[in-house]
């Protein structure tokens, strides 16, 4: 479609995405999602659309590079960039798979309670991975231990046994815009002594992840 001597910025505009975004913007959004995912104790909403968008860009770029003459200095430079983007994508996906493996029960439970209009937690592939993984683990527990126990001990109670992400872990963050009166102790909601903070744009903080969840989701803060 596009040749190497056309700007990628202009080319991506008008794609099927609702929000029009240049390739460079999509990349920086994905990089931010990568860091958020890295530092969040819990699995965040999937950004599969950004991953797909970047994979498409890479594919296009690689097709273009195939048409380049050998020794064209652009090949090496574009390949270096592609490697950098691939690194971010694989690291991002791996981080998510790690969390899915760790919290598969909890995540599948949440996914089954998700309403149609809620944002997607898992991509299609992640969902089928989570299901298969969970199935294998259950099967394994059954064959190895549960089947050998007395009847009344053979059930696994998700509430009691499945590991859950610890939302009370502390994280570093940077405010992307001013945000007044952030309630940082949601447990004390009705208590007048509950602490609130004003986040100042570009300032850096360290606080508990739980009250930050909505702020990370809408991009008001970035985890660092």
């Amino acid at each position: 479609m596009a040749a190497l001597d056309e700007s990628y910025d202009e080319e991506h505009e008008g794609s099927e995405d609702e929000v029009e975004m240049t390739a460079a913007e999509a990349l920086s959004k994905l990089e931010e999602a990568w860091l958020n995912e890295k530092f969040a104790p819990d699995l965040l909403e999937t950004k599969a659309d950004l991953v797909d968008c970047m994979l498409e860009q890479i594919q296009q770029m690689e097709d273009n590079l195939k048409r380049c003459k050998k020794g064209d200095m652009r090949i090496l430079i574009h390949k270096m960039e592609i490697d950098r983007i691939r690194f971010v994508i694989s690291s991002y996906l791996r981080l998510r798979l790690e969390k899915i493996e760790k919290f598969h029960e909890e995540i599948l439970h949440r996914e089954s309670g998700r309403k149609e209009e809620d944002p997607l937690l898992l991509s299609e592939q992640e969902l089928s991975f989570a299901k298969e993984y969970s199935q294998s683990v259950k099967e394994h527990a059954k064959v190895l231990v549960l089947n050998h126990l007395p009847q009344n001990f053979q059930k696994l109670d998700r509430e009691k046994t499945a590991p859950k992400p610890d939302l009370d872990q502390h994280v570093f963050l940077k405010a992307n815009r001013n945000q007044d009166q952030v309630l940082i102790e949601p447990e004390l909601e009705d208590d007048p002594s509950a602490e609130v903070v004003d986040l100042v744009k570009d300032s850096q903080y360290i606080m508990r992840f739980r009250p930050l969840v909505p702020l990370v989701t809408d991009g008001a803060v970035s985890l660092i």
Partner: protein, 163 residues
């Protein structure tokens, strides 16, 4: 936890000025357009590209303005005299210095002195780390991440249990 190499990866997106010795049309990278390249004409490129071109002897790197003995000495004094963290020249000053001093030392005037000053600045700031967070660079945050976050996690548990 973040690998220092990953922090360096992020720093490699910072722009630096190079003086190429070749000519080439504009490059249309996914992350944005770069160029055109003309021999002797300075232009800004991401650090990862600058280092690569330098390694292939295709350019000279113009070190950032702050990478200079006089500026760094002033910065060091300012940091020493202050009880809090002074703003740094660039949030990635440590990684950029390391990359440039490793790969383009011949382009930096008084490279040895610059190296020593950057290290002093880092040490003074590391000593202050036990106090505040603003103006901290990612590499600095990374060095105290496990200690600080776990200490606060434990304090939160204690607080919740005593309520």
């Amino acid at each position: 936890m973040m690998d220092p190499a990953e922090v360096e990866f992020l720093a490699e997106k910072e722009l630096v000025t190079i003086v190429p010795n070749f000519s080439h049309n504009k490059l249309y990278l996914i992350s944005g357009d770069i160029g055109p390249f003309n021999p002797g004409l300075p232009l800004d490129v991401p650090l990862w590209l600058a280092v690569n071109l330098k390694q292939r002897q295709k350019c000279r790197i113009q070190p950032p303005e702050w990478m200079d003995v006089e500026t760094l000495e002033a910065k060091k004094q300012e940091e020493k005299d202050s009880a809090v963290f002074e703003s740094v020249m660039n949030p990635h000053f440590m990684e950029i210095s390391k990359l440039l001093l490793t790969h383009a030392a011949d382009d930096i005037t008084n490279a040895d002195e610059v190296h020593a000053l950057i290290k002093d600045l880092w040490d003074i700031r590391a000593a202050k780390l036990r106090q505040s967070l603003d103006n901290l660079s990612l590499m600095e945050i990374n060095t105290i991440r496990p200690f600080l976050t776990q200490a606060l996690d434990n304090m939160h548990t204690l607080k919740m249990n005593s309520m």
